[in-house]
Symmetry: C2
Subunit: 564 residues, 2 copies
Amino acid sequence: MASKHWSELAAAKRAQLSNSIPQEWVLRNLPPKETLTVIDFPEKSGLLTEREIEITHSEVSALLDKLAKGVWSAVEVTTAFGKRAVNCLTELFIDRALKRAAELDEHLKTTGTVVGPLHGLPVSLKDQLSIKGIESTIGYTSYIGKYATKSAVLVDILEAAGAVLYVKTNVPQTLMWGETYNHIFRRTLNPYNRALTPGGSSGGEGALIALRGSPLGVGSDIAGSVRVPAGFNNLYGLRPSQGRVPYAGCVNTLEGQDSVLSVLGPLSSSLSGVKVFLQAVLDQKPWLKDPLVVRKPWNEEEYRLVEHGEGKRMCFAVMWHDEIVLPHPPVVRALEETKKALVAAGHKVIDWKPLKHGELNTALWTIFTTGGAQDFEAALNEFQEPLISEMYPIDGGDVDSITTGIPGHRAMPPGVSAYEAWQVQKRRRDLRQEYLEYWNATVGLTGTGRPVDAIIAPVAHCAPPPHGWNRPPVYSMIWNALDYTALAMPTGLFVDPALDPKKSPHEFLNDADKANYELYDPEVFKGAPIAIQLIGRTLEEEAVLGMAEVVGDALKRHLNLGRS
Amino acid sequence: MASKHWSELAAAKRAQLSNSIPQEWVLRNLPPKETLTVIDFPEKSGLLTEREIEITHSEVSALLDKLAKGVWSAVEVTTAFGKRAVNCLTELFIDRALKRAAELDEHLKTTGTVVGPLHGLPVSLKDQLSIKGIESTIGYTSYIGKYATKSAVLVDILEAAGAVLYVKTNVPQTLMWGETYNHIFRRTLNPYNRALTPGGSSGGEGALIALRGSPLGVGSDIAGSVRVPAGFNNLYGLRPSQGRVPYAGCVNTLEGQDSVLSVLGPLSSSLSGVKVFLQAVLDQKPWLKDPLVVRKPWNEEEYRLVEHGEGKRMCFAVMWHDEIVLPHPPVVRALEETKKALVAAGHKVIDWKPLKHGELNTALWTIFTTGGAQDFEAALNEFQEPLISEMYPIDGGDVDSITTGIPGHRAMPPGVSAYEAWQVQKRRRDLRQEYLEYWNATVGLTGTGRPVDAIIAPVAHCAPPPHGWNRPPVYSMIWNALDYTALAMPTGLFVDPALDPKKSPHEFLNDADKANYELYDPEVFKGAPIAIQLIGRTLEEEAVLGMAEVVGDALKRHLNLGRS
């Protein structure tokens, strides 16, 4: 039986992480609490050399190129990113990483060839990804001390591709929150403004990559957990369809719930990072390593948009809101600028009217809760660790304080019978069918002879909000409900009180809509990055990446013209 | 509320079906009950012309060729198969079919082109496949009178490909039996021997196609329901992986159970029929019509066995038994002959040792039963129709009698909680992972540099047994548990008391094994067809068809040599 209190175990684990940071990398000049924006702190800390700053600011494709040519060694690249990796971690194994990096450098020196498409690239991992010999606590004190006996399939694939694994990153307890707080590692903050949330549940990844402590990371997404932290930290984040990226061997919650699967996806500061990741994974035929992976190799034709008019004169549909929660003014501005950019680039842009999003989102949440409470209890009971039932700090000021509830209280209703779960799952299936036919029917509106090529929508109803306020995740989970490919992407825009004033109240759609309206204060959100979401069909990852390039290029050209 | 007794409704529905048979096609000279083999009865009945006999004996590829060239019209082909379609039906709509056939003939005459790859081909459908305006009773009296308001996606696809739909075929009540009996249409028999079962749940398809009342049919398979009736009726029957063939819009039981999905698959007397079906379906991009279909077009490279040494010197593994039920002597003989044939053709054949089949099969059955009892009750309650709890006739002689139980009695345990279901589903997922690694590990045994190319196994533990004796379906459902591509194929062998004597008792593995041993009597099974099963990996339909050609050719050559 449990002999220790959960809080002792959590403190010991924190100390262990702290001790794993090399002494010479420990920062003594941390910014004071009042300094909210820390996005450029690593550069200014004096810890990094000029060369290390250059390395950590390079795009994934540039890094890989320099690594392959031996301009930069894997050891120095790993060291540079390792030094920057702070605050968002659950596990740091820099010795193991530097050993691996040295092996890769030796291989390149001896053979003149790279071991794979990710040769020497440091890749950060959400805590769920098991690495043999390392813990995956995923924010549960009862998981401390459970060392993985086997690596996750994706970990093996990344290592075979030449990646250097060096850190695992923080998550919220239960993984079912769009923010990042647990009793072991506490709260992860948004480096653009520490009073704001980095999102979640892959919030450690989001913050780490934004700080350039990692060039490429892996998160998981069952309701937005890759896309929300990507969007909130000015990154690209892909939610692939179920069965595209191998999940086998990861630690998870709600396991055995086979209806709506969590998926793994990449986060990166560049689109090239996302693409390189997906290609590297698919090149290794993951369907021969994980039975849930679909036998579909990288399809270059789909990436070149052969089914989307070769990327010329496409038709996008903008979903301005989902009829549940109206997004804040900065989010609407981002959509408006994207529309202008695409029209200027010769594409057509029409409106996307949501179809039964409320019912679909409710079905999804109901599926999660059919056995969710018992699932959480099973992990919390050993040490009577309290379930975290809210994500906001108690006094609104201390970023590390939080309310905790009683196990099973508030966050999840009690479970239902398997037969009752089947009825919800059946309804969701029928709604998916209806949505597909609805999308197909847009063929009459596009002028391209095809249905809408992709949907453009908010990632969330707001830019990153203050801690505790990121709910409900209706704009992200809807695409999980439909199993569509969805990519969060930065727009290059940030909240600006001059451009994004608060509007006068509208007729509120419901309590959540009212709360969200009241939440907006331009001064609070000032400087926060604003993202959009690009949504394609199921298993259309290649085409979504191809279209994201089109959208990104159009936005860049449009915004630069506006400035000149 | 229900005002009629379920048996009255069933009788009325039978009368309706009977009346839908054109008077001039009604046979007056039915064979007496003592005549067990009726496989050649249609020819001898005098109902068919010489030309109609020739048509109905043609392979699918030959039929399509003659239809495309206008040698035979769609109307005469439909008429020929329509005349033969007796005994196994639930719905006959020959007027609609002949109208459609005439339109197709007109199209060919006018334009000189076919409307699609199935131009003019009559295709029979298991009762589950909804056709607008027609009932899908699937053996429940409470479903009588529910006319479909929309056709299933696959029905639309088949019609767009040029198929002529003309009949729907019989199933067992609940669909969860490997035989074919319900209160409405009663029992379907095996035309090779009417004392034997045609299998199930697609038993109507199996019997109909064996009688050449259809050249190609569609069944469904969640535990063997395509492969068992295919194997028991000397046909090819494919169980594709989940998500290959669109299921949307079909009527089903256990709906909303998302963990192990029933799949649709073709049955045909020729392998060309199976291939033509799959190609025709995939050519229409079914992933744009059913959200559960995988975006994977027909892959000609995979069919040409590029990943399997171009089909030369492959390595097959024979699973002689599953460590649960030892198959009867004729089944073992079929495996032995297949092995000899493959070795003679230059392939290597090793043994396949089953891995935890008992645990996997139990997991699967447990998943079905988590909400199964409530599901059946919901369909039976309206008219207090009894649940059929056994498939054997009461007195062992009257093929149309059967025992019926109380609703909810015997066939299904009560349901469990969603959380308990998750635990079983999680265990199954882990076993799938284990099985994949187990298959991969055969790379050291094959001598090809690849893991085993395909597994060869029994379709069932016996050739078609007497009514009521086809259980448990362990040899078929194991591949549903693993979601592997599995094809039932005829061997050209039939039970022969001289070659297949009963053996002396072995040490029985369990009660089911003992019961199966005791069941075997060479005289009872005499003349029954013996099938084998060819199993490839998930979503490897093309390669399985390619390898089936190799196996079929090898068997044909081997058996002909043996006879010469």
